[in-house]
């Protein structure tokens, strides 16, 4: 036993810096702010541990799945601009046809990681409607930049926003059809939250379907749908194609809401912690690059290519710069445009963000009972790995793993009482 580091202190003389760090991190349980945690170690010790050569990626080629949407940019840019090489890895972006395929390939290990809907990862963690597997969120990829589009048909009936849409649904009942992109995903949750804010129960007073993003516009054109919630560029495309308008942006529903994450399985992280850290660093570099606004035109050009989002550059570029028009004649410069970095505030895997999706899964009956919200978020969100990566890049890490926001209905979410929050909504399944 005398060879073992003492329980309550860090053995800096150990011959294996890797073990030392691992032990230390293992001991630092709880939800202590990750930045504070790293500050406990003297800077010299910290850099010594990193420089010991034991951080070589276990796997140097990683296949990262993505769905053709504007917010796949950081994964693509990390590869195209060579940020991956800086950290000894090679990222191969892999275009996927559906979120279900992304999910299956993360579960069976065909993909090392993916640009993926926040809620989907938690859905798999809980086994909602499919395989159940312990999953991991390495970092948040973006905030904001999705929207709800309503059809021009609804506009002609006077429905141009939440209030007037609710009025129309009550006054002229019929089957109002709204589409989202995946049953446990983010767009489903934004759509349901928004409808419920105005008193419309998405399950009893509307019909909700799932439609792949690139098919949204086409389906609205043939009058199949009254509205949809999806990521850009498809809302901009609907306006461009003169078939619908933006009723609300998701940043109006929740300013700086979490959206896509860099997801993988817990098993993959356990096997490849160094690769995971290198991957986070490469994507953080890319995120910082994209949030330098002078780079965005170039980024839009790269991702518009048919290998990636495969749409016209104009549909992508405007909203990436925060230049919004809603298709009803209103134009504005949105300060809460799609953000990929925001000095690292975007990327930290807040526990409160992860828990929020569980609360909404519970609210809408996808979860039948309350899970242990905090424990699940602590398992999934890789705060330690993220903090190690961010600290190396001198990117600030927040002191608290919780953040607070007031959503569009005026209700505050700060992560303190998830069970009460989840069960406190008037409109629910």
């Amino acid at each position: 036993m005398s060879n073992q580091p003492h329980d309550s202190q860090i053995d800096v003389t150990s011959s294996s810096p890797e073990n030392t760090r691992r032990d230390f991190l293992k001991k630092s349980t709880g939800i202590l702010g990750a930045a504070a945690l790293m500050n406990l170690v003297a800077p010299g010790v910290r850099s010594g541990a990193w420089a010991a050569g034991s951080d070589a990626p276990e796997k140097t080629e990683v296949k990262i799945g993505f769905i053709p949407l504007t917010d796949c940019a950081s994964v693509v840019i990390a590869s195209v601009m060579g940020f991956d090489k800086k950290y000894g890895i090679k990222i191969t972006p892999s275009k996927e046809a559906s979120w279900a395929a992304v999910r299956d390939k993360l579960v069976n290990g065909e993909l090392d990681g993916a640009h993926v809907l926040y809620g989907l990862i938690y859905g798999v963690q809980m086994g909602i409607g499919g395989p159940k597997k312990d999953m991991a969120n390495l970092m948040t990829l973006n905030n904001n930049g999705q929207a709800i589009t309503l059809s021009d048909q609804l506009k002609s009936k006077g429905a141009v926003d939440g209030v007037s849409l609710a009025r129309l649904i009550k006054a002229e009942p019929r089957e109002y059809t709204f589409a989202q992109t995946f049953p446990t995903g983010t767009h489903a949750m934004w759509l349901y939250y928004w409808l419920a804010t105005y008193g419309v129960n998405p399950f009893t007073e509307a019909k909700v379907i799932t439609v792949p993003p690139p098919q949204m516009v086409a389906n609205m054109r043939v009058d199949n749908m009254d509205g949809f919630c999806v990521g850009e560029p498809w809302n901009a495309r609907a306006i461009h194609d003169k078939i619908g308008f933006t009723a609300v942006t998701t940043q109006e529903i929740w300013k700086d809401h979490p959206e896509k994450i860099l997801g993988t399985s817990a098993e993959w992280v356990a096997k490849h912690p160094n690769t995971a850290r290198a991957l986070i660093m490469a994507v953080l570099d890319a995120s910082r690059y994209i949030d330098t606004m002078s780079n965005r035109t170039q980024v839009a050009k790269i991702i518009a290519d048919k290998a990636y989002v495969n749409t016209d550059f104009d549909s992508i570029e405007g909203r990436m710069h925060g230049q919004y028009e809603n298709g009803l004649g209103k134009k504005w410069q949105d300060p809460n445009y799609m953000k990929f970095f925001n000095d690292g505030k975007v990327n930290f895997p807040y526990l409160s963000d992860g828990m929020w999706f569980l609360t909404q899964h519970k609210r809408w009956g996808l979860l039948k009972t309350d899970p242990d919200y905090l424990a699940e978020a602590q398992k999934v969100n890789q705060i330690k790995l993220y903090t190690e990566a961010a600290t190396q890049l001198k990117i600030a890490v927040p002191k608290s793993p919780m953040r607070s926001a007031k959503l569009i209905d005026g209700v505050v979410w700060d992560g303190t009482d998830p069970k009460k929050y989840a069960n406190g909504f008037k409109i629910k399944a």
């Binding site: 046809a97 069976n108 395989p131 379907i209 799932t210 439609v211 389906n219 009972t369």
Partner: protein
């Protein structure tokens, strides 16, 4: 004979599949190429098996239907254009009813569908058992928590608290867990 629904965005492949299934004597209820039609077709035909490509963007629509109709889901047979047996095995383990490699011959259809159905039923049973176990564990923890509350609040022994709850359940003709829940509600859940 089984009724199948084919969903494929690739019209050529869909036509081939349709022919293969008809040749084997299956009823092909419909062949759909868009996600929107899929939802309607599943509702209309209630097929025994849904046939779809792994590379189909409409898989997400199917996911939604599976969750929406959780009490009566249908087996899905997936076609994959790549011949990676490892990934097929992994997918099977993950709960997809069956993965089939593209370019299959007609004679293989019947055993594949049989396997899909059997696997699907096994998986459903597994899910039911898991749900049952989760429910029991949850109930036990609720009863335990209520017992602790009662002990602290009424100064009872563990045995006495448990018996008091049992008696209440019997006299009110309610389940023990329901009594426990109302105790927790009255005494507050936080300790």
């Amino acid at each position: 004979m089984l009724t199948v629904l084919i969903a494929d965005h690739d019209a050529t492949r869909a036509a081939q599949l349709e022919q293969s299934f008809r040749d084997q004597g299956y009823t092909v209820a419909d062949v759909v190429s868009s996600a929107f039609d899929l939802a309607a077709a599943v509702a209309k035909h209630a097929p025994d098996v849904i046939i779809m490509g792994t590379d189909s963007p409409d898989r997400d629509t199917l996911e939604h239907l599976c969750i929406a109709t959780r009490d009566c889901p249908r087996p899905v047979v997936m076609f994959t254009p790549d011949d990676a047996s490892e990934s097929i095995r992994a997918a099977l383990k993950a709960g997809v009813s069956a993965y089939v490699v593209d370019g299959m011959d007609a004679e293989r259809i019947r055993p594949i569908l049989e396997v899909a159905r059997v696997r699907f039923e096994e998986h459903q049973l597994l899910l039911q058992n898991a749900a049952e176990t989760a429910r029991k564990t949850h109930e036990r923890s609720v009863v335990d928590a209520a017992k602790q509350k009662l002990m602290a609040h009424q100064g009872l022994s563990e045995d006495a608290a448990y018996h008091a709850m049992r008696r209440a359940a019997m006299s009110e003709n309610r389940r023990l867990v329901e009594i426990a829940e109302s105790i927790l509600q009255q005494l507050g859940q936080s300790s």
